[in-house]
C-alpha cells in the first residue's frame, strides 16, 4: 500500500524526478530551490546515480547537457539569478536538441530581490530567455501531487521532443507541504528518447522524422559518429550557413514543438464553458483562483476558471476558443502581467481583460481574485 505522507513541493519534485528515471543531477545551491539539490545529494548515491554540485549555474547546465548525451535523464534546479545564468546553455540545448529538465523555483526579481519570497516573474524568460529562434516547453504545477506527476511529464516531453523543458515552480508551491499519496499500484508512464536504427555509418542526428519532426538521438558511445555543435547545422550535425539548410533546420526545430501543441498542452477547467467571466491562473495562484471561483459561484456569480498546466508552447487555438464570447477575462499572476500579454493577443478586442498582478513577494489571495472579478462584472 502506498503510504500517505506530508511532502514539501521541492521534495515532491525530487521524488518525481527519480520516479521519472532521472539518475543525474547537477546543480548549485540557491534559495528557494536548494531542497531539491539536498534531496538528490542524499538519494542519488543510494541508487547508483550521480549528484554533482557545480561551481555555478552555467556549469550546472553544462553538466546536464553533457550527461544527457550519454543517454541519462539529467536535470538541474535553480531560481531567478541562476536561471538567468543558464540561458545561454538552455539555448544551446534547444539548438542541439538535447533533452534535459530545468526546474526554476521562482522568486521575485530582477537580481537578488527577495530570495525567500514567491513570484511568477520568469514566465516570459522561460519562453524567451535565450537569444535567437527557438521554442520551449514550460510547465507550471499547482499542487504537491501535480508537481510529482508533472515533473515525470517534463522528463517525458524532454525525451519525446528532444528539448529542454522548463519546470516553473514558485516559492509558494516549492515550500508548501501537502498530502502526498499515490494510487494503489501506481506505475508512471515513462517515455524514452527515440534511438537511431540506422547502420553506424549513416546516422543523421538532425534528420526530420516525418512523424513529429523529432530526429532519433544516439548516445555517446553507441558507436555512431555523432557531432554536436551550437553552430547552425545540417542533418549530419555539421556547420552550415547555406540559407536553405539553416531555414529548414530552424523551422523544423521550432515546429516540432509549436506544431505539436495539441499533444503537449494540458489544462484544467472549472465552469470554464459555463460562465460570463473567465479567470485564468496557473501555478500556486491558481489555488487562490479556484477558491475564489467556488465562493463566487456560491454567491451566484457566473465565473469560471481556466488553469493552464503547460504554459509554453502557447495553445493559441484553445485559448481563443475558451475566451470567445466571455463578458470579461481576468488573468491573475505574481508578475506584471506576463501571461496576460499572451491572453490579450487572442482575446477579442472588445472583451475587457483585467490583469491582476502582484510583485511584492506576497501571495495573491482569493479575496484579491474576487475583487478583480467584481471590477469587471
Amino acid at each position: 500500500m502506498n503510504k500517505v505522507r506530508l511532502v514539501q513541493g521541492n521534495e515532491a519534485c525530487a521524488m518525481g524526478a527519480i520516479a521519472a528515471g532521472s539518475t543525474f543531477y547537477a546543480g548549485y545551491p540557491i534559495t528557494p530551490s536548494t531542497e531539491i539539490a539536498e534531496y538528490m545529494a542524499r538519494e542519488l548515491p543510494k541508487i547508483g546515480g550521480i549528484f554533482l554540485q557545480m561551481e555555478d549555474e552555467i556549469a550546472s547546465m553544462g553538466a546536464i547537457i553533457g550527461a544527457s548525451c550519454t543517454g541519462v535523464k539529467a536535470f538541474t534546479a535553480t531560481s531567478g539569478p541562476g536561471f538567468s545564468l543558464m540561458q545561454e546553455l538552455i539555448g544551446y540545448a534547444a539548438m542541439t536538441e538535447i533533452p534535459c529538465v530545468i526546474v526554476d523555483v521562482q522568486r521575485p526579481g530582477p537580481s537578488t530581490a527577495l530570495p525567500t519570497l514567491s513570484s511568477q516573474g520568469d514566465v516570459q524568460q522561460a519562453r524567451w530567455g535565450c537569444h535567437g529562434f527557438h521554442s520551449i516547453i514550460a510547465i507550471a504545477p499547482s499542487s504537491i501531487m501535480e508537481i510529482y506527476y508533472q515533473i515525470i511529464n517534463a522528463f517525458n516531453l524532454a525525451e519525446k521532443y528532444r528539448t529542454p523543458v522548463i519546470f516553473l515552480m514558485d516559492e509558494e508551491i516549492g515550500h508548501l507541504r501537502e498530502r502526498f499519496e499515490l494510487p494503489e499500484d501506481y506505475q508512471p508512464e515513462i517515455i524514452n528518447r527515440k534511438k537511431p536504427e540506422s547502420d553506424l555509418e549513416v546516422y543523421l542526428p538532425y534528420i526530420n522524422d516525418e512523424s513529429n519532426g523529432v530526429p532519433p538521438m544516439a548516445n555517446f558511445g553507441d558507436g555512431y559518429r555523432y557531432h554536436i555543435s551550437g553552430l547552425t547545422h545540417n542533418e549530419k550535425g555539421f556547420y552550415s550557413s547555406v540559407p536553405s539548410v539553416v531555414d529548414t533546420e530552424i523551422r523544423r526545430m521550432v515546429g516540432k514543438i509549436e506544431d505539436n501543441v495539441d499533444d503537449i498542452a494540458q489544462f484544467e477547467e472549472a465552469y470554464a464553458d459555463d460562465c460570463d467571466i473567465l479567470v485564468i491562473a496557473y501555478g500556486s495562484v491558481a489555488r487562490s483562483a479556484q477558491q475564489a471561483v467556488e465562493e463566487m459561484r456560491a454567491e451566484g456569480i457566473s465565473v469560471g476558471l481556466l488553469r493552464p498546466i503547460v504554459l509554453w508552447p502557447f495553445a493559441t487555438d484553445y485559448f481563443t476558443k475558451a475566451c470567445m464570447g466571455k463578458k470579461a477575462v481576468v488573468v491573475a499572476e505574481m508578475n506584471l502581467g506576463q501571461y496576460a500579454r499572451e491572453i490579450r493577443r487572442i482575446v477579442h478586442t472588445d472583451t475587457p481583460l483585467k490583469s491582476l498582478t502582484r510583485v511584492d513577494g506576497e501571495f495573491i489571495y482569493p479575496i484579491d481574485v474576487i475583487n478583480a472579478v467584481k471590477e469587471v462584472l
Binding site: T31, A37, R42, Q53
Partner: protein, 312 residues
C-alpha cells in the same frame, strides 16, 4: 602603519562595520570584516563591494546598513568585476583631478563567491591589476543557503550535499588551495590569515593588502557556528586550533617571496581541530580511524611543502 601595532589604539578608531548587523553570534565573518576595515587609515574612505553571502544579507538590511563607507552588493559571481569597474573609473577621475582624498577598494566574499562562482571574476580582476583588495572570508561551505559543500569544504566534511551514510562519508575531495592559485597570479601581495589573539596577524596583513598598490588578496578563515556545529563561545578557540594544527597556516607572499607568519610552539594533531566541530563527528566513529589518519597526512604534506617554500 608608522608605529608598532597596538590593539588598544586600533580599537579606539571609529568602527567601520558598526554593531547591530544580523550576523549570528559566534560567526567569524563580522570579526574578519571589522578587523580588515580597522586597518584603513582614519582619514581614508573606502568602497566596499560584497558578493551575495551571509555577510551581505546580514550587514545591510534596508533601511539599515552596518557600513560607514560606500557599499555595493552586485551579484554572487561578479563582486571582483564590480570592484574593478569602480576602481578603474575612480582612477580616471583622480587622474583628471576631479576627486580629492584617498579611496580604497575592498571586496568581501565568502568561499562560495570566491572559490566557485566568483572565481573567474576574481582571476580577471587580479590579472588586470586593479588597485584593490579582495578578501575571502572562508567558512568552508555555502552557509547562506543552508550548508552545502563548496570547493573550499575540507574532505570528509558533512554538509547537506555531502551526506554521511552508507553510500558516502561526507565530502570526497580535498579543499581547493585558493591562496596558492592567487599567488600564481603574480600579484604583489597574497596572504592567508585568521582573526586570532590580538588580531595582529589579520591587522598587519590587511594593512599591507590595502596600502600595497595593485591587486592584493587575503584569505581569512572564518568559522561558522551553524555549518561547523560548535557552541558560539568557542569561536576563538576553534580558530586557534585551526592554526596550531596547521590546518590553516598563516603565511604571506610578498612580491613572490613566501614568508611563514606563525609557527605553532607545538604542532597539535589535526584530531584536536576535528573533534571541536560536529561537521566531523562521523570521523570519530569506530572504523573511521583511517579518515583522521588521512586528514593528518594531507595537512602534514601541505605544511611540509609550505615550510619548504618559506624556507622556515
Amino acid at each position: 602603519m608608522s608605529t608598532v601595532y597596538d590593539l588598544k589604539r586600533e580599537v579606539e578608531k571609529p568602527e567601520r562595520l558598526t554593531g547591530g548587523h544580523r550576523l549570528c553570534a559566534g560567526c567569524g565573518a563580522g570579526v574578519v570584516v571589522s578587523g580588515v576595515l580597522r586597518a584603513l587609515e582614519k582619514e581614508d574612505r573606502a568602497v566596499i563591494v560584497n558578493a551575495t553571502s551571509c555577510l551581505e544579507v546580514s550587514t545591510f538590511m534596508y533601511p539599515y546598513t552596518a557600513y560607514t563607507d560606500s557599499f555595493i552588493h552586485s551579484a554572487f559571481e561578479n563582486s571582483a568585476a564590480t570592484c574593478s569597474g569602480a576602481e578603474a573609473a575612480y582612477n580616471a577621475l583622480k587622474r583628471r583631478g576631479k576627486i580629492d582624498g584617498t579611496v580604497k577598494f575592498i571586496t568581501f566574499a565568502g568561499d562560495g563567491g570566491t572559490y566557485d562562482i566568483g572565481f573567474q571574476s576574481l582571476s580577471g580582476a587580479m590579472e588586470r591589476g586593479h588597485d584593490m583588495v579582495y578578501v575571502c572570508y572562508d567558512n568552508e561551505a555555502y552557509m547562506n543557503t543552508g550548508i552545502q559543500r563548496s570547493s573550499s569544504t575540507p574532505r570528509f566534511t558533512r554538509t547537506t550535499t555531502t551526506a554521511v551514510g552508507s553510500a558516502q562519508q561526507g565530502k570526497k575531495q580535498n579543499k581547493k588551495d585558493l591562496t596558492e592559485i592567487l599567488v600564481a597570479h603574480n600579484i604583489p601581495y597574497a596572504a592567508q590569515t585568521a582573526p586570532m589573539g590580538n588580531f595582529r596577524d589579520l591587522h598587519s596583513k590587511a594593512y599591507k593588502a590595502i596600502y600595497t598598490p595593485g591587486p592584493c588578496f587575503l584569505n581569512v578563515l572564518s568559522p561558522c557556528p551553524r555549518g561547523w556545529d560548535y557552541p558560539m563561545a568557542k569561536l576563538p578557540e576553534i580558530i586557534k586550533l585551526a592554526v596550531d594544527t596547521c590546518v590553516w597556516p598563516l603565511y604571506e607572499v610578498e612580491e613572490g617571496v613566501w614568508r611563514l607568519s606563525y609557527t605553532p610552539k607545538k604542532k597539535l594533531p589535526v584530531e584536536d581541530f576535528l573533534r571541536s566541530q560536529g561537521r566531523f563527528k562521523h570521523m570519530f566513529k569506530q572504523g573511521n580511524e583511517w579518515m583522521i589518519e588521512e586528514a593528518q597526512q594531507y595537512v602534514d604534506q601541505k605544511w611540509d611543502k609550505l615550510l619548504e617554500r618559506t624556507g622556515a
